[in-house]
Symmetry: D3
């Protein structure tokens, strides 16, 4: 880890995150919402509570709830316009894969028996894409979900908080032979190895996806990437907690404002 003095094209050190922000309350009709920014990547994350479950869960014993995610890139989130799934008639494979990852990540820290007969929907719409949209989505989805749970508890829609830990994610990769944290599109596009690491606030892994892009990697590189991700996720977890605390402080006044919508 002697590469600290290498400077990336956007001025960061290899182990430095982009500027990460959570702007809560962006979509006031959602139960919880946040605009999460990882540098120029911006994703609207919203959480909604629905009092029903997918049909295959209906007869679960003991009764369980569910957490389901949907991910989409708004057509204008990329420099050349992207066709909508509603126009092409079906979701592309990449979006399907990402929304399944978001759902699994949130379910990994949830006790679904605490929210019987309930689906917590997590919608992630990319407003601006500059690399790392899936890790920003997971990190933002947790913030939106916690705010939604607090609101639903105060309104009596839920009886208990299903979450037993927090969850966040970051991308790491190998670019020109160097391990880098939180890659923007310009680095991601020609990285040799591309990884997405999802961890809990207490430092356990939820999901590791590490892919050689028309390339391969060895154990030493994997361990270095994981260590880099761990340091980044610790910082993101702290920022998540701060954003949630601040949103819940303002909760009574926010609730009043909501009432007039």
């Amino acid at each position: 880890m002697q590469e600290d003095d290498f400077i990336r094209s956007d001025g960061r050190k290899p182990n430095e995150l982009r500027k990460i922000e959570f702007e809560t309350g962006i979509a006031a009709n959602a139960t919880g919402s946040v605009l999460v920014s990882f540098g120029n990547t911006k994703v609207i994350c919203a959480a909604c509570v629905e009092k029903k479950v997918p049909s295959w869960l209906k007869s679960a014993v003991p009764p369980k709830g569910w957490i389901s995610a949907e991910y989409s890139m708004l057509p204008y989130s990329t420099l050349s316009r992207k066709q909508r799934a509603s126009s092409s008639g079906k979701q592309d494979g990449r979006s399907v894969e990402i929304q399944r990852l978001i759902g699994r990540s949130l379910r990994a820290i949830a006790d679904l028996e605490k929210i019987p007969e309930t689906t917590l929907w997590l919608d992630c719409d990319v407003l601006q894409a500059d690399g790392g949209t899936r890790t920003a989505s997971i990190s933002g989805a947790y913030v939106a979900a916690k705010i939604a749970v607090a609101k639903a508890l105060s309104e009596g829609t839920l009886d208990a908080d299903p979450f037993t830990d927090s969850v966040a994610a970051v991308s790491v990769g190998i670019h020109n032979g160097r391990c880098l944290l939180d890659l923007p599109y310009s680095e991601d596009v020609d990285a040799e190895v591309d990884s997405n690491i999802v961890m809990t606030g207490s430092g356990k892994f939820v999901e590791i996806q590490s892919t050689g892009e028309e390339s391969t990697f060895d154990s030493g590189q994997l361990l270095e990437l994981i260590s880099l991700a761990k340091s980044g996720i610790e910082k993101i977890s702290a920022l998540q907690q701060e954003a949630i605390n601040k949103a819940l402080e303002n909760f009574p006044s926010q609730k009043k404002e909501q009432a007039t919508v």
Copy 2:
């Protein structure tokens, strides 16, 4: 017009608009973008320039461009979550109708021969719905489109500005027998007559849609609604111009910032 002293449930007079704001630059990868608010109704409008035209226009003589709009409600824009068109597999009829109206409204003020071989895409995604989303979309789409045209001219993607006038829209309706301007959802839901009026900045009609909701209306009522809409659209047109001017003032610095994305 003696009803000036009636006060609506949100404190407005019958002929008073909600607070209308245009926050430009909301989606930095789009060529032009704005978050338009009509009170609690908030719509992301983005304009993108694509250098091709629909197949049926390809052999037009003289060559013409096209303006095409897409409208969608984000799932969390309503108090109870709305399924995505990409999940249900098709757009609902209401969205199809609205996006056709947005496209027609912008084409009515455009000389499409000035943008040959080019499609100007207008995407309107409702972030928060509280009545009047289609009129907010039209009003915002014009702002996004003008900014996009300015940017495309400066970058050489376009050779000429196709717009010969401005366009804006507002809803008017009859509620409990009283003509009202710019209805929020609480008034819209049980209005007897629901109208959407689209006009140019120079005061000409582009589109009038006036519908009795399981009800009917007469000529006098129609004229009163149209006059109410006209006064509202004049104010919206001024706000549009102000937002466009301000966005273009900041243009060089905005351009620089864009370059680092």
Copy 3:
């Protein structure tokens, strides 16, 4: 209105309707049916009674019925063959927009609480298209609906007639600067303003849609168009009534013939 002496390419005066005919009983398995002709525009309109309602209406208090319309152009209704929606996999936007208009127009004159647990389906299939297919469809749909209601009452499928008025529609437009009634395709295709007006038999508006086609219009022109439409709709309403009366006169014999199908 001094233009009475202008003669249109098909020999009509500006304020003259095309030959309008209602041939009832065209589709004997439907509860009510009519082939409506506005000149060369011919539409099969059929009404069917179904004893269920859309799911969102099921728990309405008090119980209500529904009126739903479907519109389609038969592939051979235009001079160059039009692909079927069942082949392309989805309805085009224009058809969606038109069938929503037909449904709203019929619901505007109906008391839906009089037909609880019932959907009145109105199918409009264009056999031959020469402009004004949506206004012919609305005018024909009312005739088919009234015959279907009479038959359903006599058979005990319905307990009450939901209709409290009649409804008819006509197109008006501005062509070469002149206001014209009931435009055929040759005038419609390059009209500056294209309007569709829906009115009740008692002279109230149900819906006004007035669109500048890459063009705009002013209040004076709007009023002239509306006045022209009003005169046309009065005549159409009289023809509708005549056709309904004639069909119901023959009702017992028609019923017998039906029984052998």
Copy 4:
């Protein structure tokens, strides 16, 4: 064949056709069209000429044309309303099967090399269904096709008539152990064996489909059914020829009328 004195519920002898009529010119924008009636079964058949071929035929040597059919039941053609394929999003299997049969039947009597680069579209829309819609469709499609070819030859759209024979079809079946010709729905619904026979005007088979409906049959029964069909098809062929001759006699005047559409 001693059963001649048995009388069916609609008054016919076992070997008697229903009343068969061909009303040509029903859809004036089609190149050729006919409303064919087999008793209460009524089908609109239309033929259109399109100057392109399916992609897999484009490089055929020598160049060939194609004949393609589409079949659909209008929603109001049955006593209880049938959902449209455009609403359900896909064609039902039965319609797919029938339209493939219609296409094959017409291609069997055509020399497709005589219409290079050309598709002859045959649309069959059932207006009223009372058994035998597929055989009525084939019989009507031939009439529409011949009229379309004559018109296309006179207009120069085609250079040669592809048809080398005529084609017609009829249903036969075994009902309560008795062989019957041209079954209406009331007989068809509980027939033990259901057959559709397609033959040329010169008495050759094009297609034989004979199905035991949850039942089986033997060679003797098959031969009796085929012989019954043959006698019926001879009569239908004569009626087809008569209808075509009459339509072509009126051809010049019809053409003039068409020109004003």
Copy 5:
């Protein structure tokens, strides 16, 4: 029938079947399964028992079960790869037609009242296509179905065997004027007449489909084809019975093996 000494390109006599084999147990998780080979044509046929019926059968009196078939060509079954229906979004017309034929053929020999509230699914996936895939599918589906019924009876999932006879199918055709049995692709592709004959083990017809491919045929030819098919089906029926007997002999051991899956 003097052509016995003609030798086909693959060495067979005109009235000779290809090598026909039934390899049972190919898909051990299905209730019954077989890999059927007609020469180089190989089809996986599997039968599954589901304890529910299509919605339109739910209220049948007396209660009935259903038999439903699905047919598909695996993408690599043909020499040039065939796109999957799940990629194109819909099944092609030919597959729809074939799976309807398979279902009808099996239902013709079944008493559906013996399997109330039950659907017997028959899946036929073509592994290798060399002509006659639909007749191989029917012949194999019966073997899979009988094994599945035996297993379901032994497990108590079914109370009675619905089958009252056996069913098999073979293709026959006229090629260069000569009647041939069981055509491979090389003969099928340019046959003048193409027939598929479905018969019971007891020698009754279930379905006859005889098609002139851009050609026609007469009664004498039809009878010769049917006679040829009959001789072939007798042999296939014997092979089916042998395969079923052998599979059921091994039944107890097979059951044990299944238990460890």
Copy 6:
């Protein structure tokens, strides 16, 4: 790693693979094919060469080919029948995710510039599912691909072998706190951690996917899982090589047989 003496429910040690077999030539019309078995999991893998590339690759400089995979579970591969994607109208998310993984894994060991203008299609159809279908698919797809490349080289369809290494995959997981290799369904269904590891024959990682199923894991556990996978993949790589060698030995005779298909 002291757990060697623990015996799993199917009799294996924790670090023992199931019986793995590659039966080549299963689908003779494919360019290369294999039936791969990992115990009771059986997958048909087929490789086909198509001389075109996806549209987005058409103008690549230098020209490149592509490798694309499709994965599907046959309806009868599971104990309760699974609906086909062609019936439901769309692929489920899990299948999309798996086929993307298969494609990436094969592309990681390929130099796509060696097969310009060419797509290598890899189809994986699960015949019998008992856990690990995605890792069996990757391992089988490589064998099918290598055979297809050899055949295409000998036929002149390809000029060069794109593969620079081999690739194989295996599942590992934590079940009741114990790290296990190659999990069958009975272990997989309640494993705490589920991982799929893809490696080259030369021992480099291609993809690591490690997921806590409503659970989490730490670095030590990850390393133990990876080490277990490595030992398994070494054995699978050897079996792949053996199967490929044996298939290519028989190549001339196989080729001859193919010619008569």
